[in-house]
């Protein structure tokens, strides 16, 4: 296992999110939250790894709740909702369910003149539903 831990070496209690072959680890997005947290965290993507390890340790025990949203290009979003235990760490297999794609063909109106600049356009997915799922304030 080539793992990237959010806290360096593997903590006593953790959830491991395992990536299947063919999914570029540096392009994976993982947003997670632990029990009673307000903000949670996001994994920093790294190349060449097979597992993202996220600590679920609080004090000497595992937290009671872990939720995450996992996305990789070409795949559908996978949600994770589990209750970690002190007895065993959990491995979650990210399953890449292929996502279809759609092309947005756009044109700017005359006043914008964006074509005269070296403009970079980047699309973002705004998951408002995830606020409820993750319990973010």
């Amino acid at each position: 296992m080539l793992a990237a831990g959010v806290m360096g070496q593997n903590p006593p209690h953790y959830v491991s999110i395992h990536l299947p072959g063919g999914v570029p680890s540096e392009k994976v997005y993982i947003r997670y939250i632990l029990e009673s947290e307000e903000l949670g965290g996001a994994v920093t993507p790294r190349p060449g790894i097979t597992d993202y390890v996220i600590s679920t340790t609080r004090g000497e025990h595992a937290v009671a709740l872990f939720k995450a949203l996992v996305y990789a290009p070409g795949c559908a979003i996978q949600t994770v909702d589990l209750m970690p235990s002190d007895q065993a760490n959990t491995r979650v297999d990210f399953t890449c369910e292929p996502a279809s794609s759609a092309t947005i063909t756009g044109r700017f109106g005359q006043p914008e003149r964006m074509g005269e600049h070296n403009v970079r356009l980047q699309a973002f997915y705004v998951a408002r539903w995830a606020q409820t799922f993750l319990g973010l304030g």
Binding site: R31, M114, V126, A127
Partner: protein, 103 residues
Amino acid sequence: MVVRFAIGDPASVDAGERFHITVPVLRESDAEIQIRATDRTSGQEYGLIVPAGASDLTTHLGGLKIATSYPEEIVFMRCGNQERTLIDRQALITPPLDDRCER
């Protein structure tokens, strides 16, 4: 706190003011697509671009709806350049234009 992440490859705008962005079709309920423009050289932020007056393509917060396909061509404008008349009938519950543009 909004969960937002980049999808699809970055696109350029050609001399004819046109562009193409291919995006995955992700969960559509309570979600939207935002497109952000930046200057490749200076990094200057131009902010969000939004469909111009195409209310059937936009969510009530101004983003592009998730769809399996889109019209042949959509006219966009920079957020903040919209005329007040383009604000939909939910104006009373829609955030002020400048706030919406920062979401």
